[in-house]
Symmetry: C2
């Protein structure tokens, strides 16, 4: 358990320069290929795009989930941080919830195949599920609590269920333009409203 460079001892040894370079190259290549072919793109394609061997991918990102997380981490963080910001922005909690769900949907539908893989029961994607849920469910829960406290919505739907539902609504939205995930998600949220 050498703490490579963290708080305590100085680095046991930093990663080699070529390794760090390849990781960056791989992230860029993966991002490009994900856009072009979806997050299910063949490993060989990503390796080819990056100009490395397939084993190099597995060395840096043991599972596909690790690669996906690394590629989209920034955007997920941004989405998570938008939650409290929206809540503080002055609108009603319900409006904040509605807009935040919109952000989440927009993120998912622009990542081909991500919503689907988020629903996969493949054990290899457990890390991906865990990351998304850990990072976003608490944010959603805060928005739900605020709206419930304001008497705008019912309070008997757990945040995790809602997130799963919204995520599911985004599956396959990237093709056929007749499918409007955002609208359906809005409908789902509207279903939470209490009559006043």
């Amino acid at each position: 358990m050498n703490d490579s460079d963290g708080g305590g001892g100085r680095a046991a040894r930093p990663r080699r320069a070529d390794a760090r370079r390849n990781e960056k190259t791989l992230l860029d290549a993966a991002a490009a290929v994900f856009v072009a072919s979806g997050v299910d793109a063949p490993v060989r394609d990503i390796a080819a795009k990056a100009g490395v061997g397939t084993a190099t991918i597995y060395r840096h990102f043991p599972t596909r989930a690790d690669l996906i997380i690394a590629v989209y981490r920034h955007q997920v963080e941004a989405c998570a941080e938008a939650g409290p910001a929206l809540l503080a922005s002055g609108a009603t909690p319900y409006a904040a919830l509605e807009r935040w769900i919109g952000l989440f949907v927009d993120f998912l539908v622009t990542k081909h195949g991500l919503a689907a893989v988020l629903r996969s029961d493949d054990a290899g994607f457990d890390a991906l599920h865990a990351y998304f849920l850990d990072r976003l469910v608490p944010v959603c829960a805060r928005l739900l609590d605020a709206a419930a406290a304001a008497g705008e919505i019912r309070s008997d739907i757990p945040a995790i269920q809602l997130m799963r539902g919204v995520g599911n609504l985004c599956i396959g939205a990237e093709h056929d333009p007749d499918y409007d995930a955002r609208r359906l998600a809005g409908l789902l949220i509207a279903g939470l409203r209490l009559p006043r």
Copy 2:
């Protein structure tokens, strides 16, 4: 298009007895394997269960979609016929819609992987999409129209969108018992309600 034994010409020639027998055997085997391993089960597994070669499956059911349709046709028909029945059963149109969606969800969540495949963009599943949509969307549309005419719901959501949304909500519902597709679908429908 040959009317094998129907009204017009006498049969060009009826299918061989072993072929008919194998088709039945395959349907039974597929149904069993689908229950055990989902509708994505390897072709070889189904063939083995039926005691036939893999080519025999492709001969009878050129695409997986054809096999799935054949296995579930009865249940889809039953669901389609339940729509008008519910509408005539005396409750409000909205209640009928709600219950019919419940039937649809119950059907989907008990067929491992079917909801997911219904969302696949693989061209091989086009026939499956078409069948489900052709058969069920008109039923849903009638329920929606009735409820809209009664002033219970808004009328600006096409039936096909709603069906897609509900179908999506059912994806992955077969595992983790914490996910309640039926409840979320109910929420989606509730989102259609008009304030009175």
